[in-house]
Amino acid sequence: MLVSAIISGVFFGLFFTLVGLGLNLVFGVMRIVNLAHGDFLMLGAYAAVFLFALLGLHPLTSAAIMLAAGMVIGIPIYYLIVPRLARARDVEMLSLILFFGMSQMIEAIASIMFGNNERSLPARLLGVGPVQILSARMPRAWVYSAAVSAVCVVLVYLYLYRTRFGTITRAVMVSRDEALATGIDVDFVSAVAFGLGLALAGIAGVFAPFMLGSVTPNIGGTVIIAAFAVIVVGTLGNPLGTVIGGLIYGISLMLMQTYLSSWANLLPNLLLILVLLIRPEGLLGHRVRRA
């Protein structure tokens, strides 16, 4: 039972790595917590549901579409909001409140347009029957989402460490002001990172109906707490730390569900508070922020 909880925790946790990855990228580049991340994930989930219902698209195709959609939606949003916001006095606090407002709007629009019924995708879309790995049995969809998550992590790594634009992005992560002084178009780099963050949220959203059972317009709130817990446990601003954060989250969630199932909902909240208090720089980090 212990072994199977840990193994299924690894797969479940990799999904949460994917959920946190975009949030962490946006935080790393912009130093802004996108509280609407969970709601963009929800939009991705609905997009996948409708793309399947109307066009019969396979979730993996939908995931590829999300990549483009995230950029197309994210870059204009960035330019509409953030440069204006950056002139304010207390940017960090105000951006938090602003994205909170955006999250409320998205949630409201989604429940007006789609209704509050639970939506899901047929599980057979990602193959029939459970997968057996050692002693753990899990839905086939978990393996798919873990694989997609791994691919996304590798792609983000290659983008950040093996391309010229990625080097520039890391320069902005280290110091916005110095990057600006070097002649880097900080706004464009940030806009692309924001778009990528939304794209990753959308891709995670495609698998949300399988991983979370079903989706409603108001899953955003719970998702954002889990995602924030994951990236804080890893290390804020470090995309690779998100992998560790996701694994720790997934494994401890599965252990909780195996041994203390009625208290499992407490876990993301407690994990978040404890890590913030005990090791605010995350497991991998040196201090990147005052806390």
């Binding site: 917590v33 909001i81 204006r84 916001l85 304010a88 006095r89 207390d90 960090e92 606090m93 105000l94 951006s95 938090l96 409140i97 602003l98 909170f100 407002g101 955006m102 999250s103 409320q104 709007m105 998205i106 949630e107 409201a108 629009i109 429940s111 007006i112 709130g221 707490i225 924030f228 817990a229 009625s262 208290w263 909902n265 407490l266 993301p268 909240n269 407690l270 978040l272 508070i273 913030l276 208090l277 605010p280 922020r289 005052r290 806390a291």
Partner: protein
């Protein structure tokens, strides 16, 4: 021409006294109007909700306006107060007075447990506070605690139901909270809190105890929310954990306070009056549309009026009470 020093001191003292009198007058008008309104207007629940949000907005003002800590999970203290009251009535068979004390005790207990969160800054504090409120909700609403808290099935306190007494208790809490804000705006302690908010290092060097100031302010706001939660439990007498820990309460308090303008006495009051007034005037048949309007309002506020309504005057050098 330089005027004699004694004269200047006297004038400053007089203008200070005038300010305090102005602040107190506003507080008195609000309390008296809400007291009289109960006899005139029949929708008591609506009036009680106004009192609740007046108080909660000012309670949030105490912590966010004066210390800069934004507790997104402010509703946690409110819910703790409501359940402190409910547990005292259900298990100790307490009367309302003792139960209100238990409501305060519950809020203080939660506040003390959460003191370490004050080590975090800005967004981290806001999100950790949200997580703490969620965690409290998960504990209270947990079905395994059904014997203690009735879990998700809600509590019924009809044995202490007293609409008039609970209404006026709520009003008294509002009066106390307004007095606290007047004190903070005009006293040394409030000034030192604002100094901490602006620059904690300089404040520390000027001899202000930063940690003590922050703890007192955050516990004071917790007590206010706990009292409001207790009065809510008493007045409503049947409620569920979903209503006592409704995140909407936090959202409303934050939006009302921001809309009016933090650190002022009139700002949060205006915010509640205008926004909650509109909210009730249009009706609450379609909650999604309100969520949409509130979300849009928050975004517009942050982008175009980040310091609230009162900043329209203060930025022109006019003092707003």
């Amino acid at each position: 021409m330089p005027e004699p020093g004694g004269n200047r001191v006297a004038r400053r003292r007089r203008s200070g006294a005038l300010r305090i009198a102005g602040d107190l007058a506003i507080a008195a008008v609000v309390v008296i109007v809400m007291g009289v309104a109960r006899g005139v207007y029949s929708n008591e629940l609506l009036l009680f909700n106004f009192i609740m949000f007046f108080t909660l907005a000012q309670g949030l003002n105490v912590v966010y306006g004066f210390t800069g800590y934004l507790p997104f999970g402010y509703v946690g203290f409110y819910g703790a107060g409501a359940y402190g009251f409910a547990l005292a009535v259900m298990h100790l068979h307490a009367g309302p007075a003792l139960a209100m004390l238990c409501a305060v005790a519950a809020a203080i207990l939660l506040g003390i447990i959460l003191i370490p969160l004050l080590r975090l800054s800005g967004a981290y504090f806001a999100i950790a506070s949200l997580a703490a409120a969620q965690a409290t909700y998960e504990v209270v609403a947990n079905p395994t605690l059904e014997d203690v808290t009735k879990g998700p099935y809600g509590v019924s306190l009809t044995q202490v139901f007293a609409p008039a007494a609970s209404y006026y208790t709520g009003l008294a809490i509002l009066a106390g909270t307004l007095l606290l804000v007047v004190f903070l705006r005009n006293g040394r302690f409030g000034l030192s809190l604002q100094a901490i908010r602006e620059d904690s290092v300089s404040a520390e060097m000027a001899g202000i105890s930063v940690v003590r100031g922050r703890i007192i302010a955050s516990l004071a706001s917790a007590v206010i929310a706990g009292l409001v939660g207790g009065a809510f439990a008493w007045h409503i007498s049947v409620f569920y954990p979903d209503t006592a820990f409704d995140l909407g309460v936090s959202i409303f308090a934050v939006v009302f306070t921001l809309f009016g303008g933090i650190t002022t006495l009139s700002g949060p009051l205006l915010g509640v009056l205008i926004l909650y007034g509109i909210y009730n005037w249009i009706g609450i048949t379609l909650p999604q549309y309100f969520q949409l309007i509130y979300g849009a309002l928050i975004m517009v506020l942050v982008l175009f009026l980040p310091n609230g309504l009162t900043s329209l005057l203060t930025s022109r050098g006019i003092r707003v009470p």
